[in-house]
């Protein structure tokens, strides 16, 4: 029997479960924003959502259409300027979790959102660029990445390092002077990868229900490290699915 939820829904629910109540989370638009709001409406009512447009403690009753949606300003504890959000709130390490997406990701959690293929001045694909991500990746207590897993995305070496994960391996973050803890967790549509505390390599630690280790290996562009014991995550609960679908529906509603 096929499950009554999609792989994207499983991924979003798994990402939401990573967020602990009472922590401050720097949220990107798209999947991170959906997962963070799901967490806030379900198990983490005191999750502080911070958007780079300057909205601190936003509590939107619908999913924002963009990072600067008016619903974020209307429901925030405070609205500050963009220099302030980066200089006063992110840079000193006041934010517990940074929640990022990626166009490409490597085994050390380095992220590319700049260019794919060719060289920088003559790329095959021009992506949107860095936005707030480099400093979010550098300064948050830890980083959670949410990204669909495929050979196109999970590649041996990213074409461009937009945001640093663990660089080239152990102690690289310290050498570079990055103060945050780095990308400890990567949530995909297949499972969960966790950075190994010694080697810093992303290691498969959990599968979503119905997914096999071989499937994850086949969607990874490097010899994937696999934990000795790989657990299987809980499927989305009915309550989680209800809230998630209601949130998704708000994107289509007129406002």
């Amino acid at each position: 029997m096929s499950p009554d939820y999609t792989a994207d829904e499983m991924m979003t629910v798994a990402a939401a479960r990573q967020l602990r109540d009472g922590t401050a989370c720097f949220v990107g638009i798209g999947l991170p924003s959906t997962a963070a709001n799901l967490a806030r409406v379900t198990h983490a009512p005191n999750l502080v959502l911070i958007y780079e447009s300057g909205c601190l403690g936003a509590k939107p009753d619908r999913l924002p259409l963009s990072i600067g949606d008016g619903v974020l300003a209307d429901t925030a504890d405070a609205v500050v300027s963009v220099p302030e959000v980066f200089n006063y709130w992110l840079q000193p390490g006041r934010i517990d979790v940074g929640f990022l997406g990626a166009a490409q990701l490597d085994r050390y959690g380095n992220i590319n959102t700049t260019v794919i293929g060719g060289d920088y001045t003559d790329p095959k694909v021009r992506l949107p660029g860095a936005g707030g991500a480099p400093e979010i990746a550098a300064s948050c207590g830890e980083v959670v990445v949410i990204v669909r897993q495929s050979l196109r995305t999970f590649i041996d070496r990213v074409d461009f390092v937009t945001s640093v994960g663990y660089g080239t391996g152990p102690s690289d973050r310290e050498r570079l002077g990055l103060r945050g803890g780095g990308p400890k967790t990567v949530i995909t549509d297949l499972g969960v990868l966790t950075a190994d505390p010694v080697t810093c390599e992303l290691t498969l630690t959990r599968l979503h229900p119905g997914v096999t280790v071989d499937q994850v290996r086949a969607a990874t562009g490097w010899p994937l490290a696999v934990a000795e014991e790989v657990t299987v995550g809980e499927p989305p609960t009915a309550a989680e699915l209800t809230v998630l679908r209601a949130l998704e529906a708000t994107k289509k509603a007129p406002h």
Binding site: G30, E52, L65, G70, V82, P83, R126, A130
Partner: protein, 272 residues
């Protein structure tokens, strides 16, 4: 004291070919109408500056107004890619577009340095990324007190900054609220500035903290109701999300884009 002008006068007087021009707005209060006027007046060789070049910059780039873009994130927010921006970078159409690329924190601090009259700003950032290799305006710097390595970014000093706001009075004092992004810093960093507003009133309702730009710090103010459409103006209008979604199809092919610009910008009826 700011001069009250029409939008056409403001653009004609303040923006010249070859200028460095910033049209700021962080998803909110994006000066779309001013961008359309720049296209209508056929400005060329502009260096366009903006943290988040989105649909209005896609139009300016596709219309051939820009030769250089200084930015930190270029996309159609909440929708996807900018096709005219991509076509210019990947295929040099309609003209090659040179890029100077930063992070948001880098750009925000560059404006702060410009507004502060300093040659550079300092931040923790960029370390270990590939961004510094591609721009001379990002350099490592040693802290004179602790010796640690930080990053210096050069000040931004646009020739002109254009922003949209809720209200101004006849002396050009500008009230702005909601998400104010880097608008204040971008105006104060620039040599000249144009603020388009929803309303010009005889007397501003006094709300402490809401006059973001006093009239003597602004060059010109133009009354342009709806000047942020399809973005939004808190308290006046909501985002026209259907347009952002529609832009993806309109901008995908060159011919469709040109037809749209001809009909909706170049030949559009413009109120005086």
């Amino acid at each position: 004291m700011a001069k009250l002008v029409s939008l056409a006068e403001g653009v004609a007087d303040l923006i010249r070919d070859g200028d460095m021009v910033a049209l700021e707005g962080f998803t909110h209060l994006i000066p779309f109408a001013a961008g359309h006027e720049i296209i209508r007046q056929r400005r060329r060789d502009l260096t366009l500056v903006r943290m988040t070049p989105d649909v209005i910059y896609d139009k300016l780039i596709g219309a051939g107004c820009a030769r250089r873009l200084v930015f930190s994130w270029g996309g159609n927010p909440g929708v996807g890619s900018l096709h005219r921006f991509r076509d210019a970078v990947q295929n040099s159409w309609p003209v090659p577009l040179e890029l100077e690329e930063h992070s948001h924190a880098g750009m925000a601090n560059r404006y702060v340095a410009g507004a502060s009259g300093l040659p550079f700003a300092v931040l923790r950032g960029y370390t270990g990324t590939d961004l510094p290799r591609h721009t001379a305006n990002i350099r490592p710097i040693e802290c004179p007190f602790t010796g640690e390595t930080l990053t210096a970014v050069a000040a931004l000093r646009p020739d002109v900054t254009v922003v949209h706001a809720q209200r101004a009075d006849r002396a050009g004092n500008v009230q702005m609220w909601g998400i104010t992004g880097v608008q204040k810093e971008a105006v104060l960093a620039a040599r000249r500035s144009l603020v388009t507003v929803e309303e010009i009133v005889d007397d501003l309702e006094p709300v402490p903290g809401q006059v973001i730009l006093p009239g003597w710090a602004v060059t010109a103010v133009a009354h342009v109701p709806g000047g942020a459409h399809p973005s939004y103006t808190q308290g006046y209008s909501v985002r026209d999300n259907d347009f952002y979604l529609a832009w993806d199809a309109i901008s995908r092919e060159r011919a469709g884009f040109q037809e749209w610009i001809a009909r909706h910008v170049l030949d559009a009826e413009v109120p005086a």
